[in-house]
Symmetry: C2
Subunit: 347 residues, 2 copies
DNA sequence: GTGAAAGCGCTAACAA
DNA sequence: TTGTTAGCGCTTTCAC
């Protein structure tokens, strides 16, 4: 069923049918209703391609996700999707498995399909590639990594401050020696956190000892091995980790050594993964505003898409300043950090 | 950059340029190479809409997901995506939050965008609606629910046999009374499991007592309350639950009552959720082949898409029989069920 | 082996 | 208020 057939059935021209879809106010109510009724009856749906050929807009955005099975990423994705849906957009979610080649491929696909904008989460892409995407007049928003912040629209979290708050909290709790197990995954963020850790120790005149600073794989196993190693050289009173996964492993290792969390060694993670209030003891951690990151990222993208639409008209091609949104973290004090009052907390 | 400009630059007609893309064998090697070179230089990408207008194919499928933050669904999704990507397709992932209205909306969107096929996971849609989608010549595959199996292409898991195996295992482990906490969520599947539970008890001449059969909410809290209630009337030696979430709650309740898992009461769940080997004690459970479900579902869909393409040519419109794929579960014996040898297993 | 031209389904400028 | 018609960028048939 196409526009021609509808027009014929209604005894009007295709232009009139087209009008009721795009400028209904310019059609006589009577003819309009008649046409609408026929459209309804015939379950007419305008041809997507034909419309696209004219409008060059798809009401579609692309969202690149590092890893679909990681619930943190999916929470961000949900934030994006929530606002996209509300805006009447639909989202291509692309799982790139942290593989740069796959990521590039997907982005090619997205461009081919003429998405109106792209959101990259913790992208591994180089600056040049991303620039080349923007040059095709497809707005890009980066969520997460600060790596490319120069020149790109970005939503990020201030992990340094989050780490500082956490370490400060551990000190508050009376722990006089604090180790850190840091991952290698979101490069910049982890470095920020390490920096935050050191800052607070310095401020409090505590020793910064290499024995207590260990680079590990950002996995449960990595945390297990790292904690074992750290304990081998005299355990600290508390261990801060740059991800909840690492913390799980660390807790396992501590228990395996016959010690107790938090009585012997307190543990604090980062990320507030879903299971962190299900492990025993419940994990104290830094909560990232994942959903918000998605929401703000999407809003930013739609701002860009809409402002681009306007620019098209005015031919005002002065490249705007990239925008940056920085969100803050929140402490989730639970049993594992040895906080006195929260030690019996349920959720 | 469009085909016309490429043609001009190469000094040929648009037809020739089009040919090098679609039937390169019909173009003289010399002209072909020349054109390819120019395309390369100009980074020419054929216009998606114009191509679609001619081919009426999008190399795109839709995947409807009940809930993005549930890792089980995401594993299925990943299975789908894996084969889609390999086939050169891209996937619209639609998160419908278990809301029928949203689901319908999304499907409308997918149809508008002319996806080549749709996969529905644990869909809440009525038979009629799904039929109406198929009538628009868009193949549909259902993953999960058996509810609509009559008439629809389906990939499902035999939960009854999974439950039977688990209960049988519990008996093997020496537990002479076994209770069940069953949820209400995937209706049909839960009923199947309940049936399996009863089957095995009957086969083994064990009592089937209402005291030991409790309907609960499919959540951690539901499991907690259900187990408490069950224990109030004399606890069984083992509790089987129709989801891991229920099992977590049950374990909590048992511990709260001063009893031990598995020494006093063994627990077994269903689903093998990610955290099931992180809880203490690690949860014995029935593993569902989530990833496989996605893979088989996608393969089935592409079969349908491809066979539909052929049918188009032959005008052979004899509606095929719906296909059904049934996958089997697998036991994950861990500490919580009191199995002697596995009691110290790490993962 | 190549080109001219019709047509895919729709939008919008222009005419009436 | 409505109709006519020229595109949008591409594919393909039919000539040559």
């Amino acid at each position: 069923m196409n526009i021609k057939q509808i027009a014929k059935a209604a005894g009007v021209s295709v232009a009139t049918v087209s009008r009721v879809m795009n400028h209904p106010e310019n059609v006589a109510p009577k003819t309009r209703d008649k046409i609408l009724k026929i459209m309804e009856e015939e379950e007419y749906k305008p041809n997507w391609f034909a419309q696209g050929l004219n409008f060059n807009k798809t009401k579609t955005i692309g969202l690149v996700i590092p890893h679909m099975l990681n619930s943190m990423y999916m929470e961000i994705a949900k934030g994006v999707e929530d606002v996209a849906q509300q805006k009447g957009y639909i989202t291509f979610m692309c799982n790139v498995e942290k593989d740069t080649e796959i990521e590039k491929n997907y982005i090619e696909q997205l461009l081919t399909r003429r998405v109106d904008g792209i959101i990259l989460m913790f992208s591994s892409l180089d600056e040049k590639f991303i620039k080349s995407v923007e040059e095709q007049d497809v707005p890009v928003v980066l969520i997460g990594e600060d790596r490319c912040a120069k020149g790109f629209n970005t939503v990020k979290v201030n992990c340094r401050i989050g780490a500082e708050n956490m370490v400060y909290q551990l000190i508050e709790n009376g722990h006089d020696s604090i180790g850190i197990l840091y991952g290698n995954d979101p490069q910049q963020e982890t470095q920020d956190m390490l920096e935050g850790y050191k800052n607070v120790l310095k401020e409090n005149d505590m020793d910064i000892s290499d024995e207590y600073i260990k680079l590990v794989e950002n996995t449960i196993e990595g945390g297990y091995l790292g904690a074992k190693k750290m304990m081998a050289s005299g355990a600290p009173r508390a261990i801060f980790t740059t991800s909840d996964e690492i913390a799980y492993g660390a807790m396992d290792a501590i228990k395996d050594s016959g010690l107790k969390v938090p009585e012997d060694i307190a543990v604090a993670g980062f990320g507030n993964a879903r299971m962190s209030n299900l492990v025993e003891p419940k994990l104290t951690t830094v909560e990232l505003p994942f959903h918000k990151m998605g929401v703000y990222g999407a809003r930013l993208l739609f701002d860009l898409i809409e402002s681009e639409d306007k620019e098209d008209n005015t031919e005002n091609q002065a490249k705007e300043e990239p925008r940056q949104i920085i969100l803050q973290t929140k402490l989730r004090i639970r049993k594992s950090c040895g906080h006195k009052e929260r030690i019996g907390e349920m959720f």
